[in-house]
Amino acid sequence: MISYLVFFACIVLILSLLTLGLNLQWGFTGLFNAGVVGFYAIGAYTHAILTASPQPQYLGNFGLPWLVGVLAAMAATALAGWLIGLVTIRLRGDYLAIATFGVAVSIQLVTLNWEPLTGGSQGLTRIGKPFAQLFETPFGFNLWFLGLMIVILGTTYWALDRVLLSPWGRVLKAIREDETAAVALGKSARRFRLEAFVLGSTLMGLAGALYVSFIGFVSPFDFLPIVTFQVWAMLIVGGSGNNRGAVLGALVVWGIWAGSGVAVTKLVPPSRAAQGAAIQVILIGLLLVLVLLFRPRGLIGEAAVVSRHVND
């Protein structure tokens, strides 16, 4: 039981990291990134390719230490975020969304088709886990990983708070709130946006590296568009523009997703499992709609949201 909760918490914290990255882009900068899973994938695969134990049929699988994989994953996603941002960031709203969505789909297809590097649909295994050899049981490793995640997420959370209170963070909010301010800043507004995009993407890459080093296996099926939707649902349910909301959203949405499965298993006999599973997904959809109906700005809305309308 405890062991499952520890495992569950690790997943929630990894998802929180993704949601925090997205919150920086959307909640604080207004960038509609619908390609979250693409950056997650880049981080995951970079880590996997660098740290997985060597195998003759693959170009990668260098067997490098865990920390190298994590840092390289962040660097690779930052670079990818910069390149993708450079091309797409001037698009507005929905168009940026569909463009980033397309980028994520393309990245997933590359992981599926570039077999010598990514293992294609077979995936890569034996990926570097942090100090896994020190632990006898999976529970021990999970507990240690949870501790590690708490430190990483806590540090990220703290650093984001700092950054957003800094002049740089205030400029971001100004750009998001006020188009004229953005126009007045001209070229540098785009630079600020790009920086936020890169920083957010880097967090997503970190989450990807942590996910595969927790699970120990990666395949293209980890990066289907549904993951992007889940992360967005977490941010919207929790309340965008608010880091506490982002973390809470990850907990609530993933809790609903996993918990409803347990509930259905308890209530529906196995012979009706197919219908039960359909009901589970219906419940997930219904809960999402209900949360949004009754708290349209998320569980923890942004405090200063009213200010925008007063000056109309």
Binding site: M1, S3, Y4, L5, F7, F8, I11, Q55, L112, N113, E115, G120, S121, Q122, G123, T125, R126, T137, P138, F141, F214, I215, G216, F217, V218, S219, P220, F221, D222, L224, I226, V227, R244, G245, L248, L251, V252, G255, W257, A258, G259, G261, V262, A263, V264, T265, K266, P270, S271, A273, A274, G276, A277, A278, Q280, V281, L299, I300, G301, A303
Partner: protein, 421 residues
């Protein structure tokens, strides 16, 4: 805001914990729990329906035949939605909360892979799949010997297919295959075998599943002017592909893989249009144990047993229950070793159905070895946890799927030697 946020956190945690607490944390007492993870929703769901029914039937037979160690078996089935994270969570839940020592699952290798890596191997529980064929899972030792499958690897089927296409003199073949581990494995092994056995692959067209139309892929395949088609995939998309293929004037000389051995496929395309096709399937040598399963399934669900994973799923759970009876205790490591003792060369043969299971349990109690013949034939695992079974060639006659001929285990072994040397 502050307080509301915090109370939301508390209630969310309470919700999760409450649901989980409802599960009694019992092991070794009655009933004995067996887990299952299958994609009950999502794109694989159409083929899962019968697989889940086969699982249900197996559990029913086990319980009617005396259960495990005198206890009835409780089967806890979770949905993986075809999503790796969901599947891993479900498996973790089964192992850590429900404390199952063994579970069956799942179909998509993209979900099975992370489950092996993060649940099965580290937690030392037994996992038997009906359907995940990705070749590396059993080969590279990643599972620590805890992962088994009752479905022969893609290699067996691919070699058998190549021998049959060669026998029928199929030339200038285009291979249209699903772009997953299953499809790429099949293509790779098929090409290797064809090179030795005769025949020529003139074009390879991968396809991604769940496309609304495959006209582009079919057009591309036809552009190579093939004389025959080998289609590797799953029935839903295959119906669309074959219909588009035929209506665009493609040849009727079509070879298919095991998944298409289902009336859904035949009726989907239209029986009169597929008179010339043939397909492969694993194992299922004829015999009383196969018939017994087919009969029991047809009676219970008013549906035939043709379809991917139906027989193998039944065997996965029967093997698991037999092994749990053989095992000295209900822990993963000892069940793992017991799995290899369900088909002992000098054992007493036992088959499918409740009566045969009961007989097996009594033999086990008496300390005698058993030799299980399942719904797919003799179940004997090799060192990797794979089965090599016989194969059969099926065709369609008068709107029905009939067996054309069988390839025995001995034939298969010769075939392997011819291809791999």
């Amino acid at each position: 805001m502050e307080r509301r946020g915090r109370s939301a956190v508390v209630s969310a945690v309470a919700l999760v914990a409450g649901v989980l607490a409802a599960a009694p944390a019992a092991a070794q007492t009655c009933p004995v729990k067996i887990g299952g993870v299958l994609p009950l929703t999502g794109s694989m769901a159409p083929i899962t329906k019968k697989i889940a029914q086969a699982a249900e039937l197996a559990i029913e037979h086990v319980n009617a035949g005396g259960g495990v160690k005198g206890c009835p078996v409780q089967f806890i089935l979770r949905d993986d939605q075809g999503q790796p994270t969901v599947g891993v969570d479900a498996a973790k839940y089964l192992v850590e909360v429900e404390r199952v020592p063994a579970f069956t699952g799942t179909i998509s290798s993209g979900v099975t892979g992370p489950i092996i890596a993060s649940v099965t191997a580290p937690s030392k529980v037994v996992q038997i799949t009906c359907c995940s064929t990705a070749s590396p899972f059993t080969l590279d030792g990643r599972s620590g010997g805890y992962f088994f499958r009752t479905i022969p690897t893609s290699k067996t089927q691919a070699y058998a297919t190549a021998s049959e296409t060669a026998r029928r003199g199929m030339k200038k073949t285009v291979v249209v295959y699903i772009n997953t581990d299953f499809g790429t494995d099949m293509l790779r092994f098929y090409k290797a075998a064809v090179a030795k056995l005769g025949g020529e692959v003139i074009a390879e067209v991968p396809y991604n599943d769940n496309q609304p139309s495959y006209r582009a892929e079919v057009t591309k395949a036809l552009a190579a002017k093939p004389e025959s088609l080998l289609l590797i995939g799953f029935p839903k998309d295959a119906v669309t592909i074959v219909r588009e293929w035929l209506s665009l004037g493609g040849t009727k000389s079509i070879a298919l893989n095991n998944s298409m051995r289902t009336m859904d496929f035949v009726n989907g395309v239209g029986a009169k249009f597929v008179e010339d096709v043939f397909g492969m399937d694993n194992a299922q040598v004829a015999g009383p144990h196969v018939d017994a399963f087919n009969k029991a399934f047809e009676e219970k669900f008013q549906a035939d047993t043709k379809g991917p994973g139906v027989h193998t799923q039944y065997d996965a759970l029967m093997v698991m229950a037999l092994a749990m009876n053989i095992s000295k205790d209900l822990t993963g490591p000892s069940i793992k070793d017991a799995v290899r003792r369900v088909h002992v060369p000098n054992g007493t043969p036992v088959g499918t159905g409740p009566a045969e299971f009961k007989k097996a349990v009594e033999l086990i109690k008496a300390g005698k070895p058993i030799k299980y013949f399942g719904a797919t034939g003799p179940i004997e695992f090799d060192a990797n946890g794979d089965v090599t079974g016989p194969a059969l060639v099926w065709k369609i006659k008068d709107g029905q799927i009939v067996t054309d001929r069988s390839i025995t285990i001995e034939d298969m072994q010769t075939l392997f030697k011819r291809v791999e040397n």
